[in-house]
């Protein structure tokens, strides 16, 4: 009986080296590239972001005026060939200020998002992987942060620490890390149950390596999406806070410009329109890109 059974199996056996076709290389980069081909909004977002980046890098070349040069002979001038976006109440060129303001706004977008990304990832990994006490401590802390109205929390931080760019970074990082930590924790918990985690443990791979070789790389695509969506959030928060008067009064950011121009909103609408539209375009560009990336990465994650 055993013999017959064996023959039945060996008859099926093909050659030892399996030549079967393997699927073409369709990595995550490929799916992102094809996303840009299909999703014009994301492509537009990417192009706009690149343009804004170029603008901030080459600000001195693009703007003909010094953004802080006062010219009391030409105050609140309407847009003209001389001053494309007009001048403000101290005679400063609004176009130059918008161009230079992109530096502040991009920095406000990137730095706190990066800080909260790192902080949220580390805490989320710890909560998800260690569990128990670490999980309780970190997640309850996150709950506290999320339970506060974010703007209020950030304003309290700014009031307490004082208005400066550094404190703005701290305030925005404090309100943003909790969301990232939650996402990373959730993903860590689901990854922990995967068979390849068990495989790694059975091979004697250390816990540290399991976290950094298996869990983190598998969270990375989502973190990229989260990061691109955090940036416009931070720019919006900064604008709101500057508008409400708790921003850094020395940093020429778009939010601050809107705030300073609000008194002349009817008389000189260009004072708030120019920086306002700059905020709108930047935030929209990052949102388009972030949404596109999420669409491209999500189906890839499911397979």
């Amino acid at each position: 009986m055993k013999k017959r059974f064996k023959d039945q199996y060996t008859a099926d056996l093909s050659q030892r080296i399996i030549d079967a076709e393997i699927q073409p290389d369709e990595g995550i980069l490929h799916s992102i590239l094809s996303m840009f081909r299909a999703n014009k909004a994301a492509l537009l977002g990417l192009i706009l972001i690149l343009l804004i980046l170029l603008m901030s890098v080459f600000a001195p070349v693009i703007a003909r005026y010094d953004p802080n040069a006062l010219d009391l002979t030409s105050m609140r001038k309407a847009p003209s060939w001389e001053h494309w976006f007009g001048t403000d109440d101290m005679g400063r060129d609004v176009f130059a200020r918008v161009v230079y303001g992109s530096r502040t706004s991009l920095m406000i977008g990137f730095v706190p998002s990066l800080i909260s990304l790192v902080l949220g990832t580390v805490l989320g990994l710890m909560a998800g992987y260690l569990g128990k006490v670490a999980d309780e401590l970190i997640m309850r802390l996150a709950d506290v942060v999320l339970a506060f109205p974010s703007l209020l929390l950030a304003m309290v931080v700014m009031y307490t620490l004082g208005a400066s760019l550094l404190n703005m970074f701290i305030a925005l990082s404090i309100i943003n890390w909790a969301g990232t930590a939650r996402v990373v924790r959730a993903q860590t918990l689901s990854l922990k149950e995967k068979e390849f985690m068990e495989a790694a443990r059975s091979m004697g791979v250390s816990r540290f390596k399991i976290v950094f070789r298996h869990i983190l790389p598998n969270c990375l695509p989502n973190l990229i999406v989260l990061f691109t969506l955090d940036i416009p959030g931070a720019i919006m928060w900064e604008s709101s806070m500057s508008f409400l008067g708790v921003g850094d009064p020395n940093a020429a950011s778009w939010g601050l410009m809107v705030s300073q121009g609000k008194g002349y909103a009817y008389m000189c609408p260009w004072l708030i329109l120019a920086p306002g539209i700059a905020i709108l375009i930047t935030v929209m560009a990052f949102n388009f890109l972030g949404d596109g990336l999420r669409d491209a990465i999500d189906p890839y994650m499911k397979t």
Binding site: F5, D12, I17, I18, P24, G27, A200, M203, G204
Partner: protein, 319 residues
């Protein structure tokens, strides 16, 4: 033959709402060097849990595992890691058991890295490519990712990974049940070839009686967390002593159409809950031979013929 692995009175209970799941209850067995010990049972009977207990992937509620005569529970940290090098596992799901973000080369190299085997990256790469060739994968696929491979190819990757540390014992947890039948045959033959080349010892877990019969020297049958029969393969398949084993064998589909109309005794009823197992014999609620003795006392695993163990108050007579 020397004993490679011994499990002594292993118990694993999982607390759940409203009670405890008795996944593995008082299981003892030994695996000899070089043999293949099959472990069969229906879904949820605790076979996979038993495999993980043996590897110390999950801690037992009680009981001990001896590997090469050493009690695993006495070791911790680095020493346990070194000891466990001798035991590796091949997993059931070739899709879930490989990290989708790692290239095949890195997947197979991971155990080498973890144990600092090989002096240089180049040397490890050469070892990985040799392993790939041994399991029937082209070494050129080194930099490819798991999602580019078919199920059978992925299972070969998993096998190469398990063999990277040159283990003595390989626990195969349903290694072919996720594969097509034709691919199953290839993988089974690969496992059998590798066993000869590397003098491996297998603990082969499956719910497929044919697959287990093909590879195993001895077979254990598990029901609701307990062993009900353990015997050399031919004896178990031709002359089962435990009623449950007989019902299992009867349930195997008959490929010969001329024998299709033969009378077959099939089991009725539902599997008892592992949360509230019946008193005495676990199988008694579905067993046609059950009587008062079965309810009163749990039958011990007795030797009914040389090398043939059966846990039943009313074992069937050998035919």
């Amino acid at each position: 033959m020397t004993e490679l692995l011994r499990a002594e009175r292993l118990v694993k209970e999982f607390p759940v709402k409203g009670g405890v799941v008795h996944a593995v209850s008082d299981v003892s067995f030994a695996v000899q060097k070089g043999e293949t010990l099959g472990l069969v049972g229906e879904s949820g009977c605790g076979k996979s849990t038993l495999g993980k207990l043996v590897l110390d992937l999950i801690p037992p509620t009680s009981g001990k595992v001896y590997f090469n005569g050493q009690d695993l529970s006495q070791f911790k940290g680095e020493k346990l890691r070194t000891l466990r090098r001798g035991m590796q596992m091949i997993f059931q799901d070739p899709y879930a058991s490989l990290d989708p973000r790692m290239s095949v080369g890195r997947i197979i190299m991971e155990p080498l890295n973890a144990h600092h085997i090989g002096d240089s990256r180049a040397e490890r790469k050469a070892m990985v490519q040799a392993l790939m060739e041994q399991v029937g994968l082209r070494p050129e696929f080194y930099a490819r990712y798991p999602h580019q491979f078919s199920g059978g190819q992925r299972q070969r990757i998993g096998i190469a990974r398990a063999l990277a540390l040159n283990p003595e014992l390989v626990i195969c947890d349903e290694p072919v049940s996720a594969l097509d039948v034709s691919i199953q045959a290839q993988i089974l033959n690969l496992l059998s070839d590798l066993q000869k080349q590397r003098s491996l010892t297998y603990l082969f877990i499956s719910h497929d009686l044919n697959v287990v019969r093909y590879l195993s020297d001895r077979v254990m049958v598990m029901f609701l967390g307990q062993l009900c029969e353990m015997a050399p393969t031919e004896a178990l398949y031709t002359a089962p002593r435990h009623p449950y084993t007989r019902f299992l064998l009867e349930a195997v589909p008959q490929p010969d159409p001329t024998r299709r109309d033969e009378e077959r005794a099939l089991l009725t009823g539902e599997v008892s809950s592992p949360v509230n197992p019946p008193s005495g014999c676990q199988f008694r609620l579905r067993c046609p031979y059950a009587d008062a003795a079965c309810a009163a006392e749990h039958p011990a695993l007795n030797e009914v013929a040389p090398g043939h163990f059966c846990a039943c108050h009313h074992p069937l007579t050998g035919t």
